[in-house]
Every structure is written in C-alpha cells, then in structure tokens.
Amino acid sequence: MNTTELERDFQNKIDNEIRIEPKDWMPDNYRQTLIRQISQHAHSEIVGMLPEGNWITRAPSLRRKVALLAKVQDEAGHGLYLYSATETLGIERDETIEDLNSGKAKYSSIFNYPTLTWADIGAIGWLVDGAAIMNQVPLCRCSYGPYARAMVRVCKEESFHQRQGYEIMLTLCRGSEAQKNMAQDALNRWWWPALMMFGPSDSDSPHTAQSMKWKIKRFTNDELRQKFVDITSPQADFLGISIPDDNLKWNEDEGHYDFGEPAWEEFYDVIRGNGPCNAERLNARKKAYNEGSWVREAALAYAKKKSNSENLVQVA
C-alpha cells in the first residue's frame, strides 16, 4: 500500500471508532503529536507531586496526612502509566525524562505556582484535579489505545483526589473566620491558573482541529473550560466563598455561566519559564534524578551479579 492508501485506511479506522494500537501503521505527525502530548501529561503528573509534597509533613491531622500521601503516590502512578504509554510509540523512557530535565519538554503551567497555605492543598484537589478530570474523561475515548487505557485507570483514581480537596475546603469554610479567609485566599490565587489548564482559547489553538479529526481530542479547550466553570461555580456557592471574577454570572438564555477572559499574557509568560516556581520545580526534578543515579547503577550491578551467580549454579 502507498502512503495515501495507508492514510485513508488510518482515518477510516478513526472515523469508525476503531482504536489505533502500537504496532499499527500511523502517520508520523500523529505519532509525534501523541509523544508530545502523552509525555507532557506524564511530566505534569510527576512535577505535580512537588507543590503538594510541600505540605505532607505539615498536614493538620493524621487523616489529612494519609490522604495527601495516597494522593501524591497516585500522581506518581499516573506519571508511570503515561510514561509507559509514551514508550509504546517507540521512544525510550530515558529520552523522555531527559527532555523534561533539559527544559525541552513542557508540563502543565499550573504546577509553577507555590502552595503557600494548607488551604492551597484543598484548592488544588478541588480545582486542579477537577480541571484535570474534565480534561481526562474524554481522553478515555482517545483514538490511541494505550493512552485511552491509561486514562481509564487515572480517571478511576482522580475522583478521590477532587473529593478530598473539596472536603478540606468545606472544613475550612465551616470553621473560624481566619480559616474561611484562608480558603477564600486560596480560591483567589488558584482560580485563574486552573482555568488556564484547558489551554489557550480555540481561536489561538491551531492544533485543535487536527487533534479533533484524529480523535485525540473530543472537545475544544473552550468547551471544556465552559463545562468546568458551569460545574464549579455552584460548588463555590455551597462553600460560601466567591470566585474572583466580576464577569461571572448565570446566563439564563444560554444555560451556562458567563465568565471573564483569563490573563493570557500571564499564561504564556509562565510557559516561557517565568512563573513563580519554574526554576524551583525543574531544579527539584534534576536534583532527584542526579542524586538517584547511583541507585539506578547499583540496582543494575546487583541484578547482573545475581544472574551471573544463578547461571553458575545452573551450570554446576
């Protein structure tokens, strides 16, 4: 078959909701798009552990501590499922990690913001994991099999993350005045970065059309952002704190909330590396990688020695 026929067959499969598996023929752009998207997703899970890890030792109770530990451990797992999915596209794990460490690969810009108070852990679970779920649920039907399957596992686990976050917010909002203020402050700082997690407006998102045609994406950035605002606004009302957007109001005719435009200059600035914690996050990753190198080496040496001596026993 020539390339045109292969491409036609490929698109036919996608149109008929037949998943693409690792050994199937795929256009090079499809492969490259997936490698970029899945590895960035993996990096986001891994870097995302850092802002929350910051509060594990200072969680206010044992109950909160075990929950946060379990959540952060889940995020490590999510990173691993996704690195595995990336590898099925023919790229080595080491190469993927090197791209993160060298700054070549990106991760979600949300993790370049600091976690200043305990309420931030509540706001992250509620809003950041909430936005992640909104993005990830449609990815369970992504045309690429290994990515879709990884997303099914991830989505099953995310729901506890969001609920534990909202529970933290609820406890603070039903607590003292100072606690409620802390929750409001966290919402003020996390709201806009959370909206930016869905990516630029559709008009500034040149790859959306191709990704939708390939069924990597099922909804546009703006559609998902709207859904998120519609679902989250009543949850803020229930907490009794207010979303920091003067333009936010229910639109009876549309059946949706109207809301303001995120500050996109800030979004692009953080992506360019100028967010409050970009350098800190990347340095933490590099430090962990470099300081762990002797462990990786030693484990390999040990495995080699063990298999040598097992072979000797078998020979004898």
């Binding site: 050994k23 199937d24 797992g77 595995s84 794990r93 190198s293 484990a299 390999l300």
Partner: protein
C-alpha cells in the same frame, strides 16, 4: 555516567480467582523480583489484584498487524463454525 536503562517488563494481573491474568501495562525494573515489587506498587494500590505475572517485554513475540488479513480473515467466512448456521424448527427445545 553510563546510560544503561533498566529493562522493560509487561505486567499481567489476576483480579480474582477464576479469572485470567490480564495485561495492565508495563514498567522498568532491573530483574523479575523488582518488576514484581514495582508492579504491586504501581498497579495494585486499590485491590485490583491477587496475583501478578511479569514478563520481560523482549520475550514476547507478537503478530504483525500488517499480516492481519492472512492470519484472521480465513475465519471470517467459516460461518458453519457457529451454532446459528444450523437452522432447526422452533418446536425443538433445549438445543
């Protein structure tokens, strides 16, 4: 510093007795013991399994999707292998 990466392993989990082990994903480990331990941490954090198999990925031989037709097409027209091929009167019960 040498850049030798750990081998890749495929992980299979039996969720409960009576069911097959099912492929769940892959991971890197230096040997089978470490692969088992990592599989436990990565793939069974919520009682997903009671038994784990790990197989080094390079030991798996897979069929080629490009040969899909010659491998699997011959079964498609053998409808006489299915019970519905045989038409029996409605009066005949339990068959």
């Amino acid at each position: 510093m040498s850049k030798r990466s750990w081998p890749l392993w495929e992980v299979f989990i039996r969720s409960k007795n009576g069911l097959h082990h099912k492929h769940v994903g892959s991971l890197h480990a230096t040997d089978s013991q470490m692969a088992l331990e990592n599989a436990r941490d990565v793939y069974t954090r919520r009682n997903e399994g009671i038994s784990i198999w790990v197989v080094e990925s390079k030991s798996i031989t897979a069929s080629d999707p490009a040969q899909g037709e010659e491998l699997f097409e011959p079964a498609a027209d053998k409808i006489y292998r299915h019970p519905t091929f045989y038409k029996l009167p409605d009066e005949v019960k339990h068959i």
